[in-house]
């Protein structure tokens, strides 16, 4: 079956430092990968949508300079949170699909980021 492995599951970083999270798709071709952030008590905010062989589209309030994303092939994507601060706390989820809008998103387990 189709699975998405996301790691690390939890991470703690000092304020001003950076951390990288990765997603691995198994059992299907992850043509599109969407990265979301679920801040405490909030819903999922789309950070950016990455499609292989296309430019990465960042949503308003999120930038490549802050959240650089790599999507080099159909099974792997990574995102880095640069210079993390308290407002960057939350659960970061990657959701992968085969790229058509009627396809379900397969989510990783999420990376819970705490910032000290």
């Amino acid at each position: 079956g189709a699975l998405v492995y996301q790691y690390p599951r939890r991470t703690i970083c000092k304020s001003g430092t950076s951390m990288r999270m990765e997603c691995q798709a198994v059992g299907f071709q992850a043509t599109s990968v969407a990265w979301y952030r679920q801040s405490p008590q909030k819903t999922f905010e789309l950070i950016a949508l990455s499609t292989v062989n296309s430019a990465i589209k960042y949503e308003q309030n999120f930038t490549q300079e802050k959240f650089p994303i790599s999507h080099p092939n159909l099974s792997f994507s990574s995102m880095t949170v640069l210079n993390a601060y308290l407002e960057d706390r939350g659960l970061y989820l990657c959701g992968a699909s085969m790229g058509q809008s009627n396809e379900r998103l397969f989510f990783g387990h999420g990376t819970k980021l705490s910032v000290l």
Binding site: S32, L49, L93, Q100, N102
Partner: protein, 114 residues
């Protein structure tokens, strides 16, 4: 812009009673795809239902929903709630046919009491 509205933040009901979680959406796209995702405590969201066909009932695991484009609604229903149904439920909208993008509602926490 495109959005999803879930009016209830918390729904509390007793086991055995019917469930209805509201979802309405807004989009200029004429053929949206609607989804319900469920997120149990300490787990990632998983797909519960999806639909893109107007006025057609979709069912899975006892839950059902019908997309009504006339009212831009996709309410989630179940005839009899179970304790294990307690979770966060997110209604979501897909609008981009070229590159997959999903917009989530704020979520409704369903709390089923014994």
């Amino acid at each position: 812009g495109d959005s999803v509205t879930q009016t209830e933040g918390l729904v509390t009901l007793t086991e055995g009673l019917p469930v209805m979680l509201n979802c309405t959406y807004q989009t200029i796209y004429s053929n949206p795809f609607l989804f319900w995702y469920v997120q149990h405590l300490n787990e990632s969201p998983r797909l519960l239902l999806k639909s893109f066909t107007d006025n057609k009932r979709t069912e899975h695991q006892g839950f059902h929903a019908t997309l009504h484009k006339s009212s831009s609604s996709f309410h989630l229903q179940k005839s009899s709630a179970q304790l294990s149904d307690s979770a966060l439920y997110y209604c979501a909208l897909s609008i981009d046919t070229n590159a997959y993008k999903v917009i989530f509602g704020k979520g409704t926490h369903l709390h089923v009491l014994p």
